[in-house]
């Protein structure tokens, strides 16, 4: 009997059946979300990548490409400070008549290198301790986390000043200080990510299968923790750069006569404030840091958008 209609516009109350070819149609279950799109940089991300590559290039090859040594005087016959930009010194000279551009090129490697090494150290320590605390169980976790909380509740720059006062400033000290101070934040992040993964059923499944701790950490936890942690690296790097250059600006970072961007701002600030002298010796290094950190930030934005924006950008 055909008491139904196949007309889509069937009136209310009528029995409509969509035409079908056979009784044996396969009604496929819908696939879950398609594999996540490959990571792609946006336009601003590309701009950031170009800026950062530029500075990394300068950081590595700067000392070879710079027209002068960082402490050379480009115009040995003219000892006047703060000379305006001219041929032979495109960015002018500084308080001690040194070439600003050469000092920026020398300083690039130092600023980026110290910050990078400090961040890597912070990551190494923070991740090992953080994942360790997540795996080791409540007691270890509580003790390490409490100590970490005490350190994290100190303003970084103050802690940096106290440490540098105590042990004196040198490049290794700066790296270790930055590493230890920022380890606290990486620890917190790594622990949170580790904890989140630890309660996943697949980790429990591995445990109840009888797997050892090494397998669980390396095969179950780490592959899942790596991505969010790596995407946070850029952000941490920005904060370490700001930290190191602030210390240098306060005179507690890289020591003269070596060149460092933060230090350059400090050295030339007096003349900048009293106006009239050249602006470039202060503006150029400050701008150098700003472009570097904003460049990194542009890349970080793309990464965190890709990762779903759930990264802890606030810290």
């Amino acid at each position: 009997m055909s008491d139904f209609t196949t007309d889509k516009k069937a009136g209310h109350g009528e029995h409509y059946v969509r035409p079908f070819e056979s009784e044996e149609i396969a009604f496929e279950e819908l696939q879950d979300a398609a594999p996540s799109a490959r990571f792609k940089l946006s336009v601003s991300g590309w701009i950031g990548a170009i800026i950062v590559s530029f500075w990394v290039f300068i950081g590595v090859f700067g000392p070879f490409l710079a027209p002068y040594h960082e402490n050379d005087l480009p115009f040995p016959d003219d000892y006047s400070e703060y000379q305006a930009p001219k041929e032979g010194a495109f960015l002018g000279t500084d308080v001690e008549d040194r070439d600003v551009m050469s000092r920026i090129m020398y300083g690039a490697g130092r600023t980026i290198g110290i910050a990078f090494a400090g961040t890597v150290l912070a990551y190494f320590l923070g991740v090992v301790l953080g994942i360790g605390a997540a795996v080791a169980g409540p007691w270890v976790d509580m003790i390490v986390s409490r100590i970490n909380d005490a350190f994290i509740s100190l303003p970084t720059i103050m802690l940096g000043l106290v440490v540098v006062t105590a042990v004196g400033s040198s490049i290794p000290v700066l790296i270790v200080t930055a590493g230890l101070i920022y380890m606290t934040i990486v620890y917190r992040l790594a622990r949170a990510i580790g904890m989140e993964i630890m309660v996943m059923d697949y980790v429990e499944a591995a445990k109840v299968r009888g797997e050892g701790i090494w397998w669980i950490v390396t095969k179950e936890i780490w592959p899942n923790a790596a991505m969010p942690l790596i995407s946070d690296f850029g952000l941490r790097l920005i904060y370490v750069i700001l930290f190191i250059s602030s210390l240098s600006f306060l005179g507690m970072g890289v020591q003269p006569p070596q060149a460092d961007w933060g230090l350059m701002v400090r050295e030339n600030l007096g003349a900048f404030q009293t106006y009239g002298a050249s602006l470039l010796p202060v503006v150029a290094p400050a701008l150098a840091i700003a472009t570097l950190t904003v460049g990194i930030n542009l890349i970080v934005d793309d990464i965190s958008a890709h990762a779903g924006g759930k990264l802890t950008k606030a810290m």
């Binding site: 100590i147 106290v162 006062t165 306060l250 700003a290």
Partner: protein, 322 residues
Amino acid sequence: MLSLIVQRLLIGVVTVFAVSLIIFICTQWLPGDAAEIRLGQSATEANKAALRAELGLDKPLAVQYMNWATNFLQGDLGKSLAGDRSISESIGDRYQSTVTVSVLTAAIGIPLSLFLGIMAAMFPSTLYDRILTFVSVSLVAVPDFFTATLMVLIFVFAWDAVFGFQLANVVVIGNTQDMGVFELVGHYALPIATLCFVIASQVIRMTRAAVLNVMSSPYIEMAILKGVPRKRIILRHALLNAIGPIVNVIALNLAYLVSGVVVIEVYFAYNGLATFMVQGVQQRDFILVQSIGMLFCATYVILMLIADIASIVSNPRLRHPK
């Protein structure tokens, strides 16, 4: 809820204690002790011993710590190594200028950036929102002295070039004793403006995120589907739930102000607590560093604690238990 707050307060006390220990131990690393630094390398052992006894340095470390801590709690910050003047006395007006700048910054910067942040959340993806987000995200990533340099370039040099006069002092010196609020703002215009920009970039971004986060929750969707007007959705439904995160943001940024002020004071060369501390660092005057560092850290911890408690108090589940 009360027990939670008490618990947080206890943790706060423990943290302050831990912080003081960290600072105390850090300064113990220094080669040589106070007696040696004050009397110089050439002093006789007998003289040094006498001074050590006077300063209590011959006692065990634990006792030294106890003395320092109890004195600190009573407002006695010890004597600086450089001179015989007590630190508490020399702090006086420096303390005042640091607090003045911080309070004025907070009073101007926070309401303004809250407003801007909420507006950005109300009109997401508009041109206004995009520009604000871009500026605040960029400002977060640059050093404070870069922002300060920008301020000087714009409000002093460019202003001078265009209007023929400087809008503010680059070097902030002078007596502030009889100034009213507006005169103070004028006097500290550049440091305040810089700090405002620094904290605004954070507060705007985080306020916007907090409100947007609430705006994406199902109960806001429900309010939309009930036909609730947009203004009421923001002001009654969303903000009520975003207060916790926002208060948290404010407290965190006030805490940031405490340390951020160091760079700014040095940059604009006025005598605040932080410049005093930096001087101490340069002279390796560790008693001074210890004491002022402790002062800053304690303030910071207290503000963080307030942030923590604020987020507890603003949680309806904790405020109205079953």
